[in-house]
């Protein structure tokens, strides 16, 4: 599964994307955020306040309760500021 990071989430994690195998107990988006957060200091800093992190699965916005299923691509990013 590909993970993609944008804006300050990308900066704090220190990479724009990575391929990752998730452990079986990571079922929902919320589980993913909790699991990533303990990987190292960069992730911990990026995901310090998981409630503000926006998530897209296969390029579509989802909320944190969403099951990951067989997602190809999950992106984590701050609230958007385009327009």
């Amino acid at each position: 599964m590909k993970l993609r990071y944008f804006a300050w989430v990308r900066e704090r994690i220190g990479k724009a994307e990575e391929d990752i195998d998730l452990p079986e107990n990571v079922v929902s988006v919320r589980d993913l955020l909790v699991w990533l957060k303990q990987r190292d200091d960069g992730y911990a800093q990026a995901l310090q306040h998981p409630e503000v992190i926006r998530v897209a699965i296969n390029q579509e916005h989802v909320d944190h309760k969403q099951p990951i299923g067989d997602a190809r691509e999950i992106a984590l990013f701050p609230p958007m500021t385009g327009g």
Partner: protein, 160 residues
């Protein structure tokens, strides 16, 4: 038997290049005699009283286009539009330069106004773009924070 409604196809572009307001408006109206109203919204980079030398817009390639298309589809479902174009730029944009363009064409003015305003409120809160400020010396600074008022502006469309 229901007659299928012929839906217009919005023009959606995510690009680093600038755009031309007249060209985009003419693209919707040229050769047509059924359009009564065109609302063109241009969003520009401000210098925030001189403290800012540029905005650097990061985006999520692929999803940006898809998400704008989703929002445009909602506008087309909601108002009787005869044309809808959205161009959103990314990369480094200097004060006074264009960031985003929305052009909505309709037989009647209220549909055009509402659709363009709706597009902007949803682009602000749903389209995957992020702005980083560069200070007067050109150094990257913080990321622009999302505003509660933009969320409020978006949610007013579901109250109707």
């Amino acid at each position: 038997m229901t007659v299928p409604v012929r839906q217009i196809e919005p023009l959606i572009r995510v690009q680093s290049d600038d755009f031309d307001l007249s060209v985009e408006t003419a693209r919707l109206t040229d050769g047509r005699t059924d359009i009564g109203a065109v609302v063109a919204f241009s969003g520009l980079c401000r210098d925030e009283g001189g403290s800012l030398s540029a905005l650097e817009l990061e985006h999520y390639p692929g999803m940006a286009e898809v998400e704008i298309a989703r929002i445009a589809g909602q506008a087309i479902d909601r108002w009787p539009l005869q044309g809808l174009s959205v161009i959103h730029r990314y990369g480094k944009i200097k004060p006074g330069e264009n960031i985003v363009l929305v052009v909505a064409a309709s037989a009647h003015r209220h549909a055009a106004f509402e659709a363009a305003s709706f597009m902007m409120d949803f682009l602000k809160t749903r389209a995957p773009f992020w702005k980083q400020e560069h200070d007067a010396e050109g150094r990257p600074q913080g990321w622009v924070e999302a505003k509660a008022e933009d969320d409020a502006a978006q949610s007013r469309w579901s109250e109707r």
